[in-house]
Symmetry: C3
Subunit: 658 residues, 3 copies
């Protein structure tokens, strides 16, 4: 069964609204509600005084209506009384400011008092509801990712460092503490990164981010184990949130959850929203090893450039089915009913301020029907299959967010998104692999490696074996530069990949945004399928010396006109391409399309119109027309904004635009 | 008598300058000097040691010169010794930083030590000078508006909340504290908004701003009562300052001052400076119930976009007479003499660094003559009369400055200014009304309601009665959305105004700056005087469903092309217009002009050239030519930059431009 | 001998790299290495435990390789153990945040514990190495300039103020503390500028910057005296760093160092890098009284607009010889070997991550040869001689960085750079003079005075005598405005210069960037060599009244069209020009060229192509072609990017571009 539903906050509404809620949920085909995410102050209004009565009634009402429940532990937002009882458990910024309640996430995950209070409330929920018939899953906490730099955190950080590095001399070496006289002579001297005079040590910053991810994970595991103990049959999850500020390495976390659940909010109201949907779904599926669940998205909202953009008619449907096509076990939203107050009072909902007599609720009703029809077949379908993979590595991302880099606008996530977007536009279905977490590179014909800054020796060896065995590897600049602790690999960039790529880079020339550099054909072109003189680069230029590789493209102009820009190296039975420069979107799409062809990879369907997205999930073929004109795919005519699902008697709601 | 003068700081100058000051004041016709605003450290150089001798001499000198005195209490800037004696009385930021002396306004108004020290110095001034023959009025403090988040403030805030909400459960409901687990179980848990993890609760933030306004008012009243007790015949005022950061609700404060005195500094050096002058004067007159006094403006300075713009010749005169035309009891400046040091050493003055042999002083001399000639008639004239009013509501402003709104560039003040500007350009004299303070909507034929986000049931009823009785109401988007405590009014926007407007809005589409959306005529156009296809909108689009209203204009393009944009509803004997979108300046001027015509409202004079501003104050007609070419109004030819005042034997200084 | 070398950090590398380092240094002709700058935590890994063995070995290795050593005291970065032992010695921001270790410069220079620790480690180095045969000079600390606002600093600041002002009433007068009630009644009330409500007192801020410069200088002197005592024959220096944030007045410091050593990093990758090189070198030579040493620059790096720009081939050579041509005793770099980790892991090096088989190392080898050949003659050459001087005054700079000024984008450094650049482009060799430090204005035919905001009476008298004796003075707007303590000089701007300039300015009109104002010829033009109608101004306009001066140029348009813009006053035997407006680069170059001609000053060489820079140092003539095409100077043909040094058998490495 595909889930359809979302966050439900009955505690914000008088009891008379609850019955209307259940009736409307039934009307829309909602079959799951996430309950209790921020209900701590209603469940435990004073320390040790619990009020479960209202929740009992809500769960019974939902159950009577045939709606299942993802029951949350409310630990993401301790009540105000907690602040007064345990000021030492509040988070502290790098400047030493102790934050207070009045928002959410006002806790330090390392604080014993917080951990005890979280265990207590989670334990009581487990005890009371673990066998409630409505219970479909446990939803621990909310969007883990909070940061703290207090002294308690410092102690936990040192403990983590001792486990990782063992000896202080090992840490001193890994962190290059001889730079700027930072050598530690005692563990006690190490604190989280805090306000200091000038640039911090990048290894220090990176290890702190790793620690924080692990520390938050400990907090999750503690609750998970309590919940599991109460009823081993109920799956436990937590909602992963994406965003550059997040201190959580989801690829590592995924092993600890029963279901990978993901919140996803596109941040662009144009066609990029669909590309982001595909990206987020493919990444989540990678974390989940094939399966995952969309836990939150905005029903009628794209927040972009400071504005809440209401979705065009049909877009809620297209996005929702898009997640499902790419493997989600359903479509869930934040939120069921738009609140009357609070910080997010304009965040969108299936039932908005104006009530159910609204476009968004009507579209939800139709979507519910579609999902219900699709459920049997989709639930049995295996995840989408792909011949191409892209690498993702949270520590490389974090490292490239630091100071002291060759350009302050290096953007790891943008680079990975661009690679994925190029494949998406080339109609090539893609998976993600996680070389920092597992050296298993799967069975792909082609792997794209954008800005994989940190690489361990083991991960590098896996790539070498992959190419030697016949794989096609496409590596971009800023890959292989450093060891996992940010120590530079000497002798020339791209360090770990020099041998398989057959190149040596001796100098970087970061370019300003908007720079245009035309490429021209290199002497090794015969190796490529066609001229590369149509490719345009810009954001980065390198002085590349080939050492075995063929030069496919030369810089046609710019600071290094005439020197190699794109190379290919035959290595073992495979080939390894190096992109020493940042191509434009169109050029990267063109190049990856050609390289994929050489590797024998075909698009999902041939001759797809550019506005049409096609996704295979098992026997199901999803066709999305994201354009504003009708589109034809074989014998199918898709109306503007329409969706068609083949090999099932199901059809998305084709909607004509505004 | 019209006042002419300004801030005078003899304590900054050696005594030999004082005589020159009085001589120059007499030369310029200055008849009032504001003395002592920041003189605390000169009046009480050490705790308990007072030095009034110099002030005695200054007041006597001024009195001998025929110059009256607005004597200030110096409580806006405690001396350095106060900081050391009472560190707990210094203000604390939301981040917990305790500010220190070295600037001005370094006090917490809730601190008992500060309040006691303020009462002491004010009381001593009252005792010594309450019957001084030079004393024209008391000027308490300076530009109230300082913020503090300390623990003493927290206690005062809780006390205020208890008075307002009575029971904690009422507050929990009003603040929607079930959102994000913020339910309070004890008053002690409530603090001022302080640094926290993420977005704050908007109701919390708004109540704190209301509290702060009231708390500062308490500080004012305490001094006022002391001064009144010493001599009930001397009026007491304080100078209101305008600006988005100000935590003071002047419409509420106005009831507590004897004279509404206002500081006004335009922030644009172009023609907007004149429009801002008109806006500020009309708003001040509204606060004052018809009369007010310009207490400060910059004689030769417009600070705009990081630069001090010296006024063109004649502009000092035009601005000054502009305030007077719109009801001010005079024209006063910051400041008399430009200082040699201190933080504002380049703030402008009637006597600048270069001395009296300067353009600004010469223009002041001529202006003094004009004001003297104008005085008898102007002093008796009633305030300007208007058939149109615009609403102003400080809490709506504050609420729309918060986080979590549908667009981060919502700007309440800009919306009100735009409405006023449109009327100004349409040559329609306007007043302000304050629906959050008084439900008395006066006798106007037409009321414009821009973005009145918060509306009480009582205020909404007053608008309903107004329209039912024949009034014309023009309401814009973002009006009527929430109750005074920010709880959303459900069922469709614009909540409180749905019934009288006959519309229901189900979706918002905030647009980016620069968006252009053309309107077209709707089926209800026959109700309107002429086609609206010349109107252009942009910044906001709504999905409007009519429920009784006629559709005057449709969206011609944009996300909701073809749906209603502007509507009119006949309600009782009146009519209520709804603008669901942000019109351009020109279009709003056009529309309001047409609606005013329908309501039978005429401009100040017919056929006024666009550069000419005309204001009637009683029998006086002020004509201002803000253009760079001569302008003709009936039989009057106004030179560029010239002013003419009719039906009095007075004439402003017509000045030809530089 | 010309020095060639740079910062060397053997502590970051295993001992086996040291031998390779020395071999590569010999290959490149490196003859000096700066050692130990940040080595404190390696020299004293725990309090009182010293490890000098590795440094002994490094110095011996270098000595054996014929390489001399600038041995640093490591006091710019105390080790982590210091933080834990002496938390009170860490710096505190204006917001009260106590910074911690984890970067560099984490100390308060006023803290007794820091000073004691610094003396201890410096003393031990002195004791051990003062007679080491490799020792060429002592390099104290690194780039002094750290700020602190703690209570210990406050006490030191008060002590400094007592010494400067003597009596508190003098300070109250100098700081105009009657403004905003800031009068101090006790020294204890004075603190460093700290977070406060609103704008600070500019005199307070300026005195604090002066204090900080002197306080840091005390720290330097303490170490210098220790080192001198150990061996009076070894010169002691510290590396001056340029930058707007620096609290150090280098012109005053210069008297206390044996060699003026300067770090210089251009911040523009275009031709401005060469102009900045000339500026920095001329300024450093001024500080050094004719001689100086380039202590640091980036071998292969220009950090500009957020990006590390790799230098084009030949640019390292051109910049390095440029410093030498303008008087440097050599060319030294940060750094020898690029680090594997730490905050600056991508800062450039002579031996980059890719190793010695790289363009930068190859260029270094050639440059080393050039410098060796040039050494005998260059070492004996007197510094470049100039007939023109430009004024530089750190306190004026600091004062113009403050708040409350007529325009927030006033930029003293930009104004001085522009004046120097105009002379540079006019091929006029320039020196710097320091009127705030010494009233000796030298023997120049012409002195340019850009924005000399603060002038003492003594300095003003020196300028008057200079003109009276026949000198040519060119003064720009914002000069002479205030006394050294920021008190305005009354009666009209430019205060101190009114008499010699024969003008009186009564009003300022700061203009926005991009404003274009054309000048036209004034009635005094006959005095000038040619029409000034080709000049274009913009950023500033003033209402100038002449009082004896001839009007050379009028404002042709803008707010003061028709009034004087540029004037000249004959005063005694000389003439004094006043520029009341900000000319464009081209116009300032044109004007200064004409004024110089009138003063009988000739360019370095006649008819130099615009891309060619020519510098005379004694008998040596350096010719630089900064252009991308060959250039001809007399019988010399310079290739693109090439350098030629005449009257010595030496030749720079002419390099063809990329």
């Amino acid at each position: 069964m595909l889930f359809f539903g979302g966050d439900y906050n009955p505690e914000q509404w008088p009891a008379e609204v609850w019955a209307e809620d259940v009736a409307l949920m039934r009307q829309a085909g909602v079959n799951i509600a996430t309950v209790g995410v921020f209900a701590w102050s209603d469940l435990e209004p004073e320390p040790g005084r619990y009020e479960f009565g209202w929740l009992d009634r809500v769960l019974d009402l939902l159950h009577d209506g045939g709606i299942r429940v993802a029951l949350a532990t409310p630990t993401a937002s301790p009540p105000p009384w907690f602040t007064l009882a345990h000021p030492e458990a509040l988070p502290v910024t790098a400047d030493g400011v102790r934050l207070t309640h009045g928002s959410r996430d006002t806790y330090c995950v390392s604080a014993p008092a917080y951990r005890a209070a979280a265990r207590d409330i989670a334990g009581r929920l487990a005890e009371r509801y673990a066998h409630h018939p409505a219970l479909a899953m446990w939803h621990v906490h909310n969007e883990y990712g909070t940061d703290c730099r207090c002294d308690v955190t410092a102690a936990a950080f040192r403990h983590w460092l001792q486990k990782k590095h063992g000896d202080l001399s090992v840490l001193n070496e890994a962190w290059t503490t001889s730079f700027w006289s930072q050598r530690y002579s005692d563990w006690e001297q190490i604190t989280p990164p805090r306000a200091t005079q000038y640039m911090p040590n990048p290894a220090h910053v990176l290890d702190f981010r790793r620690f924080l991810s692990d520390e938050l994970l400990d907090g999750f595991i503690e609750q998970r184990d309590l919940l599991r103990a109460a009823n081993p049959d109920v799956p436990v999850t937590t909602n992963f949130v994406q965003g550059g500020w997040v201190s959580v390495d989801h690829a590592r976390w995924a092993a600890e959850v029963d279901v990978v659940a993901v919140d996803h909010y596109p941040d662009d109201a144009g066609p990029a929203a669909e590309e982001q949907t595909a990206f987020a779904a493919d990444l989540a599926r990678g974390w989940g090893g094939g399966s995952w669940l969309l836990m939150e998205t905005g029903p009628n909202l794209i927040y972009t450039r400071g504005r809440m953009h209401a979705k065009e008619p049909g877009r809620l449907t297209r996005h929702s089915l898009g997640y499902v096509a790419r493997g989600s076990g359903g479509a869930m939203y934040f939120q069921w009913r738009q609140p009357r107050g609070g910080a997010e009072l304009f965040h969108s909902a299936l039932v908005p301020h104006a009530g159910p007599d609204t476009p968004v609720f009507r579209e939800a009703v139709a979507l519910g029907r579609t999902l219900r029809n699709l459920s049997p077949e989709a639930s049995e379908a295996p995840p989408p299959a792909a011949s191409v993979a892209v690498t993702w590595d949270a520590p490389s991302w974090w490292a490239l967010q630091g100071a002291g880099l060759p350009a302050e606008d290096i953007d790891y996530q943008a680079a990975v998104r661009q690679a994925h977007r190029a494949l998406y536009r080339a109609k090539l279905q893609a998976d993600f692999v996680f070389p920092g977490v597992s050296t298993d590179l799967g069975d792909y014909r082609m792997i794209v490696v954008p800005q994989l800054y940190l690489v361990s020796d083991e991960a590098a060896a896996a790539f070498r074996d992959y190419v030697a065995a016949g794989g096609t590897l496409v590596v971009t600049y800023l890959s292989g530069i450093a060891e996992p602790d940010t120590r530079i690999r000497l002798g020339g960039y791209p360090g770990a990949f020099r041998e398989i790529l057959g190149v040596r880079v001796v100098e970087w020339h970061p370019q300003a945004p908007g720079t245009v550099i035309n490429l021209s054909d290199g002497p090794g072109l015969s190796a490529a399928p066609s001229s590369t003189a149509d490719l345009v680069a810009g954001r980065w230029v390198e002085r590349v010396e080939t050492a075995g590789a063929e030069t496919i493209s030369l810089y046609g102009d710019g600071p290094l006109a005439g020197s190699p820009a794109i190379t290919r190296n035959r290595y073992g039975d495979g080939s390894a391409w190096y992109l020493s420069t940042g191509l434009t979107d169109d050029s990267l799409q063109t190049l990856l399309h050609r390289v994929a062809s050489l590797a024998g990879i075909q698009p999902v369907l041939p001759d797809l119109p550019s506005e049409v997205e096609a996704v295979r999930r098992g026997e199901l073929l999803f066709l999305f027309n994201h354009g504003t004109a009708p589109a034809t795919v074989g014998d199918v005519v898709l109306p503007p904004g329409g969706v068609r699902i083949r090999s099932a008697d199901v059809e998305g709601a084709p909607v004509s635009r505004g």
